[in-house]
Amino acid sequence: MIQVRDLRKNFGDVKAVAGVSFEVGQGEVFGLLGPNGAGKTTTISILSTLLPADGGSARVCGHDVAAESHAVRRRIGVVPQELAVYEELTAAQNLDVFGRLYGLSGDGLKRRVGELLELAELSEHANRPVKGFSGGMKRRLNIMVGLVHAPDVLFLDEPTVGIDAQARTRILDLIGQMNRDGLTVLYTTHYLEEAEHLCDRIGVIDHGELVALGSKEELIGQIGEQDTVRVAAPPALWEELLQAAASWEDVTAAGIHRGKVQFQCLDGASLLPLLGRWLAERGLGLHQLEVIRPDLESLYLKITGRALRE
């Protein structure tokens, strides 16, 4: 549904998008993960025909975004990062306005508005002005407005910014539900957990460049890092424990880290029975145990040399 080839966009001397290439298949949820200013919004703006690219090409639903912008616009829905709804109007009026912009009218539009309000659990608030809504309600309406004309592809630009965990979960569930109905989604976020939870594939973007691309598992596989296991033990036993660990299969390294014994191993879960037995033989239990798995944060840290939220 989306093909992007060597896409480039500069703002003066700043390279906002520097040769980004990726593809998104039908029914896929594709995440663009990166910090603020990485080039996610610029990429979405080009794909949704709002900005012209300086180089490269992009096609959405088979149409070139530069040459066939009107055809692209009919097939896409855009959910901007801002709460792009009219606060003075009611929820139903907001959906009605944007529906009419896409040529919907009459009973068809009325029915569609009703469906979307129900999907967003806003039916009871359909005729209330949006300015009285909570942040979560506004965010849900913001997404529904992007869906009013039943697009084939939905661009979601950080749709959960500034809302609480509960509201975020509802929105992620909503997007998941829409995706199960066949909607292709391009989702930008700087929240790792959202990308991990929602996206089939993820592109990690930094300084306008796509630095990693693949499924979550593939990306973590690219890191090649191991699990880290830390456990509390009396200092008198540290030396003995380190010697024992040297003989355990999977353990590739062991040492002391901030008052705990730390092991590097291929699979942290397989180490736990061995460790538990060793401690039990000495009348001790597994206390203050930590199993740290490699994640996208580790990946980002490894690729860019800094944490995602720095």
Partner: protein
């Protein structure tokens, strides 16, 4: 252009209490204060000086008194009775706005039936309204004729000769018209005299009836070459008629600026991005905003004019269409005035600062605060270029000078052309910067 975008903006405006206060209540309040200060409720406040009118002729005292009384009751004229030569000179010099010529046979015409032909000389450059004089003269002649009719109606038997009282009654005494006929045919001289008396009475009544069925007067207006009209001489005597156009256009400018600034608010709120991602041209966005600004301004003007009419007896022009056409042209211009500014400024704050400055300067130059004639010479030349000034002039001409559309058509045309030019400039700015201009 998408109607839905205009309707959306009007709905938002209607739902926004602050916008309603700024665009409707505040202008009403301020205009009300000004109206009470200068016009007074019902137009009863201080008024503009009377119009000098010369009256030429030497009619009988009865007509002279009636004419003096009618002109005085109108409360519009300072009347000077004079001769033809003096009147001609005074009109030419602008000392009299017009001269009314009373025909020597005025009394005979009034009482014997027939149309009374008056003449009116006026300076061709003068805004003097002959219609007002015509109405006054018609009323006067009608009153004279009505007085005669009332005389006959109240005392028909005064026409009977002394000693013949009751002769007509005796003649018509009886049950059938045959008896009356026999009495006339066979009767003596008294019956015949009564019959003659009755016929005379009927003839007078018939003559009166004929008199009312003909046009009462014919006012023949002639232009007399003279000096240019004094701009200070004003057609309307209600000060509110002169204040409202300037104030109305000034408030309209703020409303138009607010409407154009909505582009910034929509951009900052993200809704503009969403609209531009829909399958419509970005020119649609600009044209829709212009239409919204225009409709918003028209609504504001309608409320102001309606309040002016009801509260201050404001004049709404000589006909039903002149003022609406001028209002539409003015709103069209002001709706487009701030669009280029919205497209070249970075944010609403910047636009608001610049726009307020521009509005105040244009308000000053255009005549919203002081008449442009009171400005220094070099400023008057600059003021002539202020487009809001054209709108104020057109509205003032219609409201205060009671000029019809054909008189203000050049100004209306100028307003519409300027509006199209400003729209073209807005679209060119937008085209030059691409959709990024709105993002």
């Amino acid at each position: 252009m998408r109607t839905v975008l205009i309707v959306k903006d009007l709905r938002r405006w209607w739902s926004d209490r602050n916008a309603l206060v700024i665009t409707l209540l505040l202008p009403l309040l301020l205009s009300g204060v000004l109206g009470v200060s200068f016009g007074g409720f019902g137009g009863g406040g201080p008024q503009i000086e009377t119009i000098p009118l010369d009256v030429v002729g030497d009619p009988p005292a009865m007509v002279r008194d009636a004419l003096d009384r009618a002109l005085d009751e109108a409360g519009l004229f300072a009347v000077t009775w004079t001769d033809s030569a003096t009147a001609r000179t005074r009109v030419a010099a602008g000392k009299a706005r017009a001269a009314l010529l009373v025909p020597p046979d005025v009394l005979e015409r009034v009482f014997n039936g027939g149309t009374v032909v008056f003449g009116l000389w006026k300076d061709p450059g003068s805004v003097f309204q002959a219609q007002i004089v015509q109405e006054i003269l018609e009323r006067m002649v009608l009153m004279l004729k009505a007085g005669e009719a009332a005389y006959f109606g109240a005392w028909p038997l005064d026409w009977a000769q002394p000693g013949q009282d009751g002769a007509i009654a005796e003649l018509f005494q009886g049950d059938s018209s045959l008896e009356v006929w026999r009495r006339i045919a066979d009767g003596g001289p008294q019956a015949k005299a009564a019959w003659e008396e009755f016929r005379t009475l009927m003839d007078h009544r018939a003559a009166l009836q004929d008199a009312f069925s003909e046009p009462l007067i014919d006012l023949r207006v002639e232009d007399r070459e003279g000096a240019a009209p004094d701009p200070q001489e004003m057609a309307s005597r209600n000060m509110f008629d002169w204040i409202l156009p300037g104030m109305g256009i000034f408030f309209l400018m703020f409303a138009a600026m607010n409407a154009a600034a909505d582009l910034h608010r929509e951009r900052e709120g993200g809704t503009l991005r969403r609209i531009l991602a829909a399958p419509l041209g970005s020119a649609d966005v600009i044209l829709s905003k212009w239409c919204y600004a225009m409709l918003n301004g028209l609504l504001q003007l309608t409320v102001l004019l309606a309040a002016g009419k009801v509260l201050f007896r404001m004049n709404l022009g000589p006909d039903l269409w002149s003022l609406p056409v001028v209002a539409v042209a003015g709103a069209a211009l002001l709706g487009s005035l701030y669009l280029p500014l919205a497209l070249i400024t970075r944010n609403e704050k910047q636009m608001s600062s610049l726009g307020t400055g521009i509005t105040l300067v244009l308000g000053m130059l255009g005549g919203s605060f002081v008449p442009t004639d009171n400005l220094p010479g070099f400023l008057q030349k600059i003021a002539a270029l202020a487009p809001n000034g054209w709108a104020i002039r057109a509205m003032t001409d219609v409201i205060a000078r009671d000029e019809p559309l054909r008189e203000v058509a050049p100004l209306v045309l100028r307003l519409l052309i300027a509006s199209m030019v400003l729209l073209a400039v807005s679209l060119a700015i937008h085209r030059g910067r691409g959709r990024e201009a709105l993002l």
